[in-house]
C-alpha cells in the first residue's frame, strides 16, 4: 500500500491541491481509503490527518471502510423509482444476501444507494466499479450477480450490445444511450473541428468578448448569468494567472444533456474552453466532471491528446504566437453541491466542496485565488457556434431575452425520453406534444428538484429566462403518480443527503420540513402544518448557496400548485396535532421486556 500511495502522491508532485486526484486513485485501487492511507497521504503532503479526512468524509464515492471488490451504487432518484427501481433493489438484496449499505462477508460485493447519476432516460441504472448499467431488471440483476460470483471481470458483465454513437467507441464501450431526439445548431454533428479556433486567431480577445456579449448567450447551467459579461469581468480582473473551468458536474436530478455532449461533442466543448481562454487571457482550462461520468475518462483524455497533436491545444495554438492553452480533467467524487461554482473550485483545490462566501466572486478570486471563469458545458458549446456564425445568427433563435437554443433533458412518463435541442420560447404544452406524452400528465418538474413542480394550469408558460427558466431538466409525471410520495418526498431526501451542512438553515430545515411532510402523508397533519412549511421555508433564503436557498422548492412549489393534495390529507377537525404516536413509541420497550402494551 505504501508504495502505491507514495507513487500516486509523487505523480501529483506532492501538491495538496491535487488531493482529489490522489484520493480517487487510492479509492479505486483499494476500494476504500483506510486510516493508514489517510495518515500516509497527510504525511507526504505535509498536511494534518484531519485535513485529509475531512475531504474523504465529504464525498459520496470515498469510503473509510471497504466497499467490496464490486461496489454497486444503485440510483435512487424519483424517475428510477418510477421505472421499477424497487424491484431491482429487492433483487439485489436477495441475490447478494445483504442490505443496502453493507458488504458481503467475503468482501466481494457492496450495495449502496446514490443520488441521480444522469441516466434518467434509461432508468433504473446503477454504477458498478465506475461502469454504468442501465435499464436494469430483476433478471439482469440475477445475471450480473451470478457472473460476479462466478469470478467474471467487470467488462464481462456487459451484455453484447453497447449504446449508440460514441458510446461504442473503443475507449468508452458503455451500454449508455445518448437518446438524442432532436438536434439543433449545438448538437449538429456536421461542424468542422478547429474552425472556430482558427477564426479567433484573427480576432482580438475583446472582439471575441464583444461577439459573445452581442449574442446575449446566458449561462446554461440554470442561473442564466450573461456569459459575455462574466468573461469581461474576468478579463478585467487582476491576477497573474487566470483559469477557465467547465462545469460538468451535472448533479441536478433529471439532467443528463451534458453527459450527451461529453459523449458526442467533446471536441466542440474543448474548443469553447480554448475560446474562453483566449478571450480572458487564461492559459489553463479545467474540465470538472462528476465522478458518475468516470467511464468517459479514457475517451476524453484520448481526444485531448489528439487535440494537442493538431495544435488546437498547447503552445502557440494554430501558429498564433503566445496563444497558449491546455486543458486537464478534474473529477469530483459524488457531491451535488459541487455544481455550485465556488464549491466546485474548492473541490478542485482538493477540499470539501463547500460553497464560498461571495463576494469575491470567482471572476475576481477563484481557483487558487486567481480570476476564474466557470461555465456550463452547454454554454461553452453555444459560444463556439456564436463565434462561427456570428451573434446576429445566434440571436435569430429563441426570444429577445432568451437567445439561442436549449438542450432539454426529458424523462419520466413520456414515450421518448432523451435530449432535445429546441429554441427558447416554446411552451410546456409544445414540449409535451413533442416528446409524446404517454398518459394524462398530472405535473411537470421543471429544472429539477431546485426548480418547480407545475400543473396543467401552467403548461402554457414558455421556457425562457423571462418566464419559466430552466437548466434543462423536465420530468413528466402521469396522473397515476403519487406526487407527494414519489416526487416531493424523494426530492426532500435528496436535499437532505446533499446538503454540505455548512449553513444551519440548510442542514436543519429540510429535515424539519420532511418530518412535517411525512406527518401530513400519514394523515396526522393539520392546516397549520401547511402554513408552517410555507413560512419556515423562508429562512432558507439565508443559506450561502443555491442548494440551500432552493432546498424547500419541492415543498413550496407543490403547495403552491397542488395545495389540494396537502389539504385532502390534513385533519379538518383538529387545530393542532404534534403527530406523536404513543403506541409506536412503546413498541421497542415492550419487545425488550416482553410486556403487552397497556397504555
Amino acid at each position: 500500500m505504501k508504495n502505491y500511495t507514495q507513487k500516486i502522491v509523487e505523480k501529483y508532485h506532492h501538491d495538496k491541491t491535487r488531493l482529489m486526484d490522489i484520493l480517487i486513485a487510492v479509492q479505486s485501487e483499494y476500494g476504500y481509503i483506510s486510516s493508514e492511507s489517510i495518515a500516509l497521504i497527510a504525511h507526504e503532503l505535509k498536511m494534518s490527518d484531519v485535513d485529509v479526512e475531512q475531504t474523504v468524509s465529504f464525498y459520496h464515492f470515498f469510503s473509510a471502510q471497504p466497499t467490496g471488490k464490486f461496489s454497486i451504487f444503485l440510483n435512487n432518484s424519483a424517475v428510477a423509482n418510477m421505472m421499477g427501481r424497487e424491484e431491482v433493489a429487492t433483487a439485489l438484496e436477495q441475490e447478494t444476501g445483504i442490505k443496502f449499505g453493507q458488504v458481503t462477508p467475503d468482501g466481494l460485493i457492496g450495495l449502496f444507494e446514490t443520488s441521480c447519476i444522469g441516466m434518467n432516460d434509461q432508468e433504473p441504472a446503477a454504477i458498478i466499479n465506475n461502469r454504468i448499467f442501465t435499464k436494469l431488471t430483476s433478471f439482469r440483476v440475477k445475471e450480473i450477480i451470478r457472473d460476479i460470483k462466478d469470478g467474471k471481470k467487470i467488462e464481462e458483465l456487459y451484455s453484447a450490445s453497447f449504446g449508440d454513437g460514441a458510446n461504442r467507441d473503443v475507449s468508452v464501450q458503455s451500454v449508455v444511450s445518448n437518446n438524442i431526439r432532436k438536434i439543433g445548431p449545438i448538437l449538429d454533428p456536421n461542424y468542422k473541428i478547429g474552425e472556430a479556433i482558427r477564426k479567433i486567431t484573427k480576432m482580438t480577445p475583446l472582439e471575441v468578448i464583444d461577439e459573445v456579449k452581442n449574442s446575449s448567450v446566458r449561462g446554461r447551467g440554470g442561473a442564466g448569468f450573461p456569459t459575455g459579461l462574466k468573461w469581461e469581468f474576468c478579463r478585467n480582473a487582476k491576477g497573474e494567472r487566470k483559469y477557465i473551468f467547465c462545469n460538468a458536474d451535472e448533479g441536478e436530478p433529471g439532467t443528463f444533456k451534458d453527459r450527451v455532449i461529453l459523449t458526442e461533442l467533446p471536441r466542440l466543448l474543448f474548443e469553447g474552453m480554448v475560446i474562453a481562454g483566449y478571450a480572458v487571457g487564461a492559459t489553463e482550462g479545467i474540465l470538472y466532471i462528476r465522478y458518475e461520468y468516470k467511464y468517459l475518462e479514457t475517451y476524453l483524455e484520448k481526444i485531448l491528446e489528439a487535440a494537442r497533436k493538431k495544435n488546437y491545444l498547447g503552445k502557440d495554438i494554430m501558429g498564433k504566437k503566445g496563444f497558449d492553452f491546455d486543458i486537464r480533467i478534474q473529477f469530483g467524487a459524488g457531491a451535488y453541491v459541487c455544481g455550485e461554482e465556488s464549491a466546485l473550485i474548492e473541490s478542485a483545490e482538493g477540499k470539501r466542496g463547500e460553497p464560498r462566501d461571495r463576494p469575491p466572486f470567482p471572476v475576481e478570486k477563484g481557483y487558487l485565488e486567481m480570476p476564474t471563469i466557470v461555465n456550463n458545458v452547454e454554454t461553452l458549446c453555444s459560444v463556439v457556434k456564436v463565434i462561427l456564425n456570428g451573434a446576429e445568427w445566434y440571436r435569430s433563435f429563441g426570444t429577445a431575452e432568451s437567445t439561442g437554443t436549449k438542450l432539454l433533458s426529458i424523462s419520466g412518463d413520456c414515450r421518448n425520453p432523451g435530449v432535445y435541442e429546441v429554441a427558447w420560447g416554446f411552451s410546456v404544452n409544445d414540449i409535451l406534444a413533442m416528446v409524446g406524452k404517454s398518459a394524462n400528465v398530472q405535473a411537470v418538474q421543471v429544472g429539477g428538484p431546485s426548480g418547480s413542480l407545475i400543473g396543467p394550469d401552467e403548461f402554457s408558460r414558455n421556457l425562457g429566462y423571462e418566464d419559466l427558466a430552466t437548466g434543462g431538466s423536465l420530468i413528466i409525471f402521469g396522473e397515476h403518480r403519487n406526487l407527494l410520495k414519489d416526487v416531493v418526498l424523494n426530492f426532500m431526501d435528496f436535499f437532505i443527503e446533499e446538503s454540505c451542512g455548512s449553513c444551519s438553515t440548510c442542514r436543519i430545515l429540510p429535515s424539519v420540513l420532511r418530518t412535517k411532510l411525512l406527518k401530513i402523508m400519514n394523515a396526522r397533519g393539520v392546516q397549520q402544518d401547511i402554513e408552517d412549511m410555507v413560512n419556515w421555508s423562508g429562512f432558507l433564503k439565508a443559506s450561502r448557496c443555491g442548494l440551500g436557498q432552493t432546498a424547500a422548492n419541492p415543498i413550496i412549489t407543490s403547495i403552491k400548485n397542488f395545495r389540494h393534495l396537502y389539504e385532502a390529507r390534513v385533519q379538518s377537525r383538529k387545530e393542532y396535532d404534534t403527530g406523536f404516536d404513543l403506541t409506536k413509541a412503546v413498541i421497542e420497550a415492550c419487545e425488550v421486556t416482553g410486556r403487552v402494551p397497556n397504555i
Binding site: 420497550a589 425488550v592 421486556t593
Partner: protein, 182 residues
C-alpha cells in the same frame, strides 16, 4: 375576579425547576395572593379538581405515564409552559436518545458493572410500571406548548417575572443574561 389557577408537574426532570420556583423566597407569599394552586407537588394535590389557567411542566417525556400526565395537563390547562431544558429539549435524560432502548435496559439491568444477583436475567416488567418510550421527547413533540422558559433550571426571577407578566398581562422583560446560555 377570581384568582388564576396554576398547576405544576415534574415529568422526566430532577425537580430542580420546582426548587427554582421555591427560590423566589418570600415572594411565594405574594404568589399565593396572586394565584390559586391546583394539582401540584407543591401542595400535593394529586388530581385536577378544576380547570386551570396555567400549567407549568418540568421535564420531558421518557415513559408512558409522562405522556398521560402531560396530556391531562393539556386538557385541563388553558396555557402550558415548558419550564427548563428537559421540558424544552429533553435535557439530560435525552442523552440516551442516541442509544437503542434495548441497549439501555440491558445495560441497566443485565450487563452493567453495578448489576448483582439478577440471576434470572429479568428486566422489570410489572404491568404497574410505566413503559419506557423509544426516546425522550420534549413536551412540544407530544402536545401543544404555548411558552418556553429556558434555563437549567430557569432562574427563580425568570419564573417569577414570567408568571407575573402572564397574570397581569404585561410584557416580559428578557435581559441578555436570561437568553444567553454559554
Amino acid at each position: 375576579m377570581s384568582k388564576p389557577i396554576v398547576a405544576t408537574t415534574s415529568l422526566a426532570g430532577c425537580f430542580g425547576c420546582h426548587m427554582s420556583l421555591l427560590d423566589i423566597d418570600e415572594r411565594i407569599l405574594d404568589l399565593i395572593e396572586l394565584v390559586e394552586f391546583n394539582k401540584s407537588p407543591i401542595n400535593d394535590i394529586k388530581k385536577f379538581t378544576k380547570k386551570c389557567d396555567i400549567g407549568l411542566i418540568e421535564g420531558g417525556c421518557c415513559n408512558s405515564e409522562n405522556v398521560h400526565v402531560l396530556k391531562d395537563f393539556r386538557e385541563n390547562c388553558k396555557i402550558l409552559i415548558s419550564v427548563g431544558e428537559c421540558a424544552i429539549m429533553g435535557g439530560l435524560p435525552a442523552m440516551r436518545n442516541g442509544i437503542p432502548i434495548r441497549e439501555c435496559l440491558e445495560e441497566a439491568y443485565l450487563n452493567g458493572p453495578s448489576v448483582k444477583n439478577n440471576t434470572e436475567k429479568i428486566i422489570p416488567n410489572d404491568p404497574e410500571i410505566p413503559i419506557m418510550l423509544d426516546r425522550v421527547y420534549p413536551c412540544h413533540e407530544v402536545v401543544k406548548i404555548d411558552f418556553h422558559l429556558p434555563g437549567c433550571p430557569p432562574r427563580a426571577d425568570l419564573i417569577w417575572d414570567a408568571l407575573v407578566a402572564l397574570i397581569t398581562g404585561s410584557e416580559l422583560k428578557l435581559p441578555y443574561e436570561v437568553v444567553k446560555f454559554d
